[in-house]
Amino acid sequence: MLQKLYDWVDERVDVNPIWRDIADHEVPEHVNPAYHFSAFVYCFGGLTFFVTVIQILSGMFLTMYYVPDIENAWNSVYYLQMEVAHGQIVRGMHHWGASVVTVMLFLHTLRVFFQGAYKKPRELNWIVGVLLFFVILGLGFTGYLLPWDNKAYFATQVGLEIAAATPVIGDMLRTLLAGDQSIVGAQTLTRFFAIHVFFLPAVLFGLLGAHFILIRRQGISGPL
């Protein structure tokens, strides 16, 4: 039955090569922790992606309750935390996931760097990876304004001062992020929400796709 269904789709869409591209590749001995335990360092990239998936899923559920508006943002987060079934767990996953993804990303970057895995022919994938690093730090920065508590508000003010310190375009950059030259308020919250939920994830997906396609193309770097 399932086979028939698969054949029916495959005849029309030719799924076979697509999923063979994704799934059918060799895992060399030197990256397999089953043979060399020290190869666990190769897990960091996969775990970064795993936590990123957790972030995307938990974030999607958070937006079911969150209201990006200065009157209601804090109250909606408070309600989510105290009243909604498992709201505390979902928010906790998103909160701690932000920290864990940063740790894993850091470890993954260090692994690639110290193994010299960014050398020819993998320069482009390294650049895509560092851009992903920036995007994820950006997601961390825009994410913690959203609960609209004191920590969020005052830490964002400091962050905006840093952005404003950029030579030449500093003030424009601050206005772009905050929606005003001096106020951190309603407009700032909606902008950070839009950046956190739409702009940066869009960039993230594009870069992640490029990262994975390049890995499939080039294969993992050989043993040292």
């Binding site: 795993f50 109250n75 935390q81 767990i89 010299g116 050398k119 004191n150």
Partner: protein, 267 residues
């Protein structure tokens, strides 16, 4: 891409009609103990992922994510602190030649150089050798970068008393849950509104360093004294008005506190 005679397609599509069999590649000719990703290695990855997920969920269950009091732009006593992964830059900006007038150096030049070097690492470190001892400069610079980031973060964390912050800035759940009755008709309310509300809040709930007045155990005379002479970090002469208004104000605060603690303790 296949072209030419004899090719059959499905309908008017570009999908070939005569298909290759769905057989996994043979990896036996690759060097070492190579394993197929699907399904052998993927199963191992799932197991690792499950163990990781359990650990992660234990962390989440054991430490509920914090939520501080609602943002209050007028809260002058609040000391901002970013999440731990931005502490290194927050700390850097505290130094004399990286912050204040020199903020361009601390906020843009130093991190800019570091991250640009990271981005362009493959073009700065071009020699073919991959091992650590074949590229001492790149590895050395990275170690300096990592060590200074960790050191800056440590310096920043060591100055923060997270427990004290937690107690001071956390949401007072009890006050949030219990309906506080403020008698806005009371004689002392006008005086409260004029003299105290800006720091102690509309509901007498306090904010940041300014304590809540709802549970005060001070007497009417003590409150009168504090309104004029201040206490702790509260400056003197916050109150301006007649002695009669001051008496009404103190009585209003005392009665609200009494009503609140009487009604609140039973719940």
């Amino acid at each position: 891409m296949h072209r030419g005679k004899g090719m059959k397609f499905v309908g008017d599509s570009r999908i070939k009609a005569n298909k290759e069999r769905n057989v996994p590649k043979d990896y036996s000719e690759y060097p070492g103990r190579t394993e197929a990703f699907w399904p052998n290695f993927l199963l191992r990855e799932w197991l690792t992922g499950s163990v990781f997920l359990i650990g992660f969920l234990i962390l989440v269950a054991a430490h509920p994510s914090p939520l501080e009091q609602q943002a209050d732009p007028t809260n002058a006593g609040y000391i901002p602190l970013p999440d731990w992964y931005f502490l290194f830059i927050y700390q850097l900006l505290k130094y004399q030649f990286a912050g204040g007038e020199y903020i361009v150096i601390g906020a843009i030049v130093i991190p800019g150089l570091a991250f640009t070097a990271l981005l362009l690492a493959p073009f700065l470190d071009r020699a073919p050798g991959r091992t650590v001892n074949k590229r001492p400069i790149a590895v050395g610079l990275m170690l300096i970068g990592v060590a200074s980031t960790i050191w800056l973060t440590y310096e920043s964390v060591s100055e923060v008393d997270y427990q004290e912050r937690g107690e001071k800035y956390a949401v007072d759940v009890e006050a949030q849950e219990s309906e506080v009755e403020i008698d806005t008709e009371a004689a002392g309310y006008a005086a409260y509104e004029a003299n105290c509300m800006q720091c102690h809040g509309e509901q007498l709930q306090g904010s940041g360093n300014n304590p809540s007045l709802l549970k005060t155990e001070k007497s009417v005379d003590e409150i009168k004294d504090i309104a004029v002479n201040g206490i702790g970090s509260m400056p003197a002469d916050m109150f301006s008005g007649s002695d009669e208004e001051r008496q009404q104000l103190a009585e209003f605060i005392k009665e609200t506190a009494k009503a609140n603690s009487g009604g609140g303790s039973g719940e």
